[in-house]
Symmetry: C2
Subunit: 509 residues, 2 copies
Amino acid sequence: MLPRLLRTARSQCSAISSIHHTAATRAFSISARKNALASWNDHDKAYFQQLLNPESVLTDADDTEAFTIDWLKKYKAQSNHQMVLKPKTLEHVSSILNYCNDRNIPVVPQGGNTGLVGGSVPVFDEIVLSMSSMNKVISFDDVSGILVCEAGCVLENLDNYVAKHGYMMPLDLGAKGTCQIGGNIATNAGGLRLLRYGSLHGTVLGIEAVLADGTVIDCLSTMRKDNTGYDLKQLFIGSEGTLGVVTKVSILTPPRSSSRNVAFLACNDFLSCQKAFVEAKKKLGEILSAVEFMDRQSIDMILTQQDWITDPLASPSPFYVLIETSGSNSDHDMEKLEAYLEDVMGSGIVTDGTVAQDEAQVKKLFMLREDISMSLSSRGYVYKYDISLPIDKYYTIVEDVRKKLAPFGAEVVGFGHLGDCNLHLNISTLEYDEKVFNALEPYVFEWTSKYRGSISSEHGIGMHKPSFLHLSKSDESIQLMRQMKEMMDPNGILNPFKILPSSEQTSTW
Amino acid sequence: MLPRLLRTARSQCSAISSIHHTAATRAFSISARKNALASWNDHDKAYFQQLLNPESVLTDADDTEAFTIDWLKKYKAQSNHQMVLKPKTLEHVSSILNYCNDRNIPVVPQGGNTGLVGGSVPVFDEIVLSMSSMNKVISFDDVSGILVCEAGCVLENLDNYVAKHGYMMPLDLGAKGTCQIGGNIATNAGGLRLLRYGSLHGTVLGIEAVLADGTVIDCLSTMRKDNTGYDLKQLFIGSEGTLGVVTKVSILTPPRSSSRNVAFLACNDFLSCQKAFVEAKKKLGEILSAVEFMDRQSIDMILTQQDWITDPLASPSPFYVLIETSGSNSDHDMEKLEAYLEDVMGSGIVTDGTVAQDEAQVKKLFMLREDISMSLSSRGYVYKYDISLPIDKYYTIVEDVRKKLAPFGAEVVGFGHLGDCNLHLNISTLEYDEKVFNALEPYVFEWTSKYRGSISSEHGIGMHKPSFLHLSKSDESIQLMRQMKEMMDPNGILNPFKILPSSEQTSTW
């Protein structure tokens, strides 16, 4: 059974618990520095129907439901008064924001709504600005590999599009079939290819965005290098729609590798996983494209939940590392991979393993890594933590949490992007359990902070973590973030209650 | 003979030409929104001598001269009243800025002072904050390759340091022996390795910076992924010391390649250079690390100025492309390079060429590319333009400018980072010639703007180009930049007169 109310919003509200949290009082409390945020009314609806067209303005519960709850059904808008707008043009977005800013009506920009921290759904009755109808490719230059497209393009569609020209998107994630590039940018999505191609702060070359008051910021450069003033596009990468709405993007796509190999390797302890990673950097060099990690508990979770999947190795091991190579010459790549395997197996770092023999096997091995999330969800309730840690602490937290939760019968699994020191610590119970939740938060975040890790590696802050932001960022940094928000969105209409802790929470530090 | 006054500052002042440009009047005019900026006095000097120590406070002309003029001697502070401070700690930097902010005394942060747009020297009598004494490596993690160091570390020293651990700095530029990592970050330096490793917006993981009022912003994350709120470090990358002073940096260094090859190739026309680049991306794939371009005029410039250098090929060609590969297996790399050369020479794209046989030859071929700047400087006066253009327009501007300048006997050379579409268009005359200057500006910038290029690809805006910023950035973007500057440096003490055009200039657009 899922909890009726969103747990994380409740935890976030703890600092102001004496106030009864209706939409109006909480909104007022959080944006006390300005007028209270307004709710939309029939007059507003008529305006939007005229601006867009009646089909692009959804207010029936059946139509809006999918936009007001996240896919894991953990974050649900606490109001039945919902509106979803589906603009088709930049002018639509600009007019909507300009209007909402004048009326103090809050807006939640939404891409594919695949986020994991509640960043893309309303907390109360904020209007959802769905970007899904702005999904055109504008241009692709097959000399430079630079793609320009609208924010609502689905990541996988873009990857298929550039594949025809011999290129690939510089990011890849489990949600690729649904997530949109605008949402990827707003959340600074990481994923499987970051190890090789870097973050969106480097690969995004240009952005067109609309500010809270409807002003269009055209930084849609298609140049790889452009040192003309402050790099404004960076403001929109990772700010989760709180500083502006991304409408178009220009992105550098790397050439698609013709050769791809995947090895699934078993290790007896975590130190060996580290060593397997370091050796991969040395031996595989420029063809190394992913180093993923799973503990045995992750594999068991898949095997028990998805009965059509079989154990890839003959006998179980406590730890696994999945190594991917991508290169332009399959003979060279295989020779490098063989030398690597000889090295790590010869030295005992790796005790067992298998190498995919064809594309189908590649997919199957990757599925082991990608299906962990799905398996956890299908088992029951999942408490998800996405953290960065120094590599020597990467698995210690999993062991500590497992020990701490032993009395509660929770399953604790650890997997993630080892190459980026990004751990997904997931805890599974059959039903939501307040005691487990209380044992986990703030414990996990404080543990992470103690070792100067990041309490959000790639998922963002959203609705889940504003009250823990101070564990990864200094007071001075949070103060500067507040000033930026105040400057760019003085009425506080853009994705309110996300990222920044309420002032009441700040004052309790 | 070099011009007595800086030309570019004069051109920048044209919009307010009715004002006599003493430090005080111009400062007042530009920062009219606040009190006029103050000049430092003996009382201030005594304060700084006590805060640092007398040796770290320079005011004698002999001592300050090297800090108040750029290395090309184009930008010289227009005052004899100069002070250079050399802080040793974060606390020093914070105290200096806090004091200067209270007193409205302007400050120019300075790294190695190797910039080309006058960003790191005072315009009038701003205090120079030299970071050269803050030059310690703080930590290096040889599993992740993450380096943490102070801002004043010289780039080449850092490259040598990480080399001992098998890593390399992700950037490399001609000035590496003098430029400092803090200055590299403040100017978002590009250089030779950007093609492969991307820009500093991607490779810099963390920054510690001091704001104008002395507040320390600690974003010195050592995690590759950290999505916790707005990515504040990005504000300091490329803002040329106008938003804060970078004091420490955390940067991801890639593994050093064990195998490196360089080929110097001749082409008959520019279209063939483009094709040679596209084929290199296809055939060399993941080992391609630089694609540099030179026209024959660039080579002639070197040969006439540096008589110890000889033509690398038997007969001259109109265009040259230098291809570098870096990889982990020399046999594989050479095999790929040979296949590439067979392809481009067989198809006639490349008409002649040579491949370096050892490290000495590699250096010699690279020197051809790196010594163009030096040769131009030694010939006489150089008008330097660093622009990005769509690849099909990359060389057209060189031809157009050559045609336009034919009556003036100026030498026009074009070279640059072809792989990044970054052209260095340089014009040489024996002495500074106002007619040549007037023929070039704003012509070059307007030409670039017409094709949506960038008027500053990697050198920045500095003192040279504020009045042309609108040719690469929209009014709305410049307005947002102004708001950011106003928010972060309300008194306007940080590197004034750089990047942003004066309000008078804005009003003339």
